[in-house]
Amino acid sequence: MLLNYRYDESLLLINKNLTKELFLQKAGVTKGYAYEMFASMYDSIHSELINIKEEYTKYYSFEYPMLEAFLYKKLNVKWDHIKMVAKQMEKNPDCILYRKKDGYSHGHYGLTQFTFSDTMYKRVIKILLLKEK
């Protein structure tokens, strides 16, 4: 799940057991350009990710009584979206919720665009959640 809550800022759910090797294996790339492309895609997805629960617990739990309040009041995530995220987290207990402050922090604008384009989105998300067999 990727949810844009503000321009260039998004929430992203990723399985805690996902490694770069596993991502490449699930993508079915073995060498050469395809391997480099998907390795770069993995790096782009993981660039500057912030673990939201850790961030909340460490810096904001004294200020906001619940994670949901932090998402709503501090990050301005819409209430409907928070409910959607909670539902996704329940369905995917092995996943960690991250936020990305700059979607293009990796530096390859085209790759980031393509990773979550209509053509790629569902397939990439399946791998990130490790739903792909």
């Binding site: 993508a27 079915g28 790339v29 073995t30 060498k31 050469g32 350009y33 395809a34 391997y35 480099e36 492309m37 998907f38 390859h108 604008y109 085209g110 790759l111 665009q113 393509f114 384009s117 209509d118 053509t119 790629m120 397939r123 792909e132």
Partner: protein, 140 residues
Amino acid sequence: MKIRYDFVTNSSSTSFVIISDGEFNFKDFVEAVGVNRNSNFIDIYRGLFDAFRDDMAPAREFYEEHYASKYDTFEEFIEQYLWKSGKEVLPKVIAAEKQGKKVYIGSLSSDRDDTESFFCTDDFIIESDKIFIDAREDGW
């Protein structure tokens, strides 16, 4: 003065050179690009292959037809038309021709679809025993 109300976008194209030992085919391309045939993303590389195949033209014919008046020689054309990688690619092209390999030139466009648009903005080399593709002329 004209005012345009709908989307205004920049389009781009990326030149490529393909050296192929024999016919340029999908089987050899898949092997060279490094993706499994049963990958869920095989269609992405099929799209790239099709984009290459649809636009590639024999390099010398392309030069004669479009650039002979601008560049004195084919060698000069390769060196300068491929402004990023031409100097590096030229010896490969000359050697390939001597070995009877086929040399093609063409360009990817950012205007067609998601897939070609992405590859157009990337710069890459695809290489195997049978195929060499240089698509580093990314103008972004």
